[in-house]
């Protein structure tokens, strides 16, 4: 959890470049959306199945596919537990890397669902939550950003070669 940047920084194509969000990636035409799926507590199994199928389709090795399914599930479970009870996953490919972005749908506008605390920063409890600890173990990169629209978490799984996509295709 070292990077909350959501825009690429051309001057230093490091974590911030590959952790760009969906809109930024789609806008510059370098990304291809693979999956866009809403979920809630009762449909997490369907989300896992879809993520697994699309990760295989994208050529992710089997062992990494398992890791990806675990990571996305735990992020989605956090969204269900600590957000508005439902969320949305978007998965896209860019330069061989798979990006998965989970939005928890939380909004201070829907105050009745936001809970009495109202503090966005502690929506997804990092220290107590074993789920996020697990995600950090298996994902190559992770970014979590809480704002007015709720919490958005993005994980990146790099190509099997271990090559940094921002090095081979800077843009």
């Amino acid at each position: 959890m070292k990077d909350n940047d959501r825009r690429p920084d051309p001057a230093s194509p490091g974590d911030s470049a590959v952790l760009a969000d969906t809109e930024a990636d789609m806008a510059d035409g370098t990304a291809r959306l693979a999956l866009d799926q809403a979920f809630d507590s009762g449909t997490l199994y369907a989300l896992r199945a879809a993520v697994q199928a699309h990760a295989i389709q994208e050529g992710l090795p089997e062992s990494r596919t398992d890791d990806l399914v675990i990571a996305v599930h735990e992020l989605a479970a956090n969204a269900v537990r600590h957000g508005a009870g439902a969320g949305r996953l978007r998965m896209w490919e860019r330069d061989g890397a798979l990006h998965c972005q989970v939005d928890d749908g939380g909004s201070p506008a829907s105050g009745s669902q936001a809970g009495p605390g109202g503090n966005m920063a502690d929506r997804w409890p990092f220290l107590q939550g074993h789920g996020l600890w697990l995600v950090r173990l298996v994902a190559d990169q992770i970014s979590v950003f809480s704002g007015l629209g709720g919490t958005r978490a993005t994980v990146v799984f790099l190509p099997a070669t271990g090559q940094d996509p921002s090095v081979s295709a800077p843009d």
């Binding site: 997490l44 199994y45 697994q52 295989i56 479970a77 074993h130």
Partner: protein, 86 residues
């Protein structure tokens, strides 16, 4: 390709030294409470040993692992043994 369709299935049998809980399918947030209640029920009556067979589980998330760990903790606190088996 493996298609994931079903959710958690659980059955309980009487083992030689205590109940044996057999889990299969997928355990996640949606079934975590159910799993926790099942384990708690099996721990009732001063049971000292509980075997959980997870060999049929295709998926278990952190909420499910937590339920298993807490059951083990309960047993250890009463001097018994709880461990996942396969």
């Amino acid at each position: 390709m493996l298609l994931i369709v079903s959710l958690l299935k659980a059955s309980v049998a009487a083992g030689e030294s205590g109940p044996v809980v057999m889990l299969s399918g997928e355990a996640d947030l949606a079934s975590a409470r159910e799993l926790s209640e099942l384990l708690t029920a099996q721990l009732a009556g001063g049971v000292q040993r509980l075997m959980v067979d997870v060999s049929g589980l295709r998926f278990a998330d952190s909420a499910s692992v937590r339920a298993l760990v807490l059951a083990g903790k309960t047993l250890r606190e009463r001097g018994g043994a709880g461990r996942p088996g396969s």
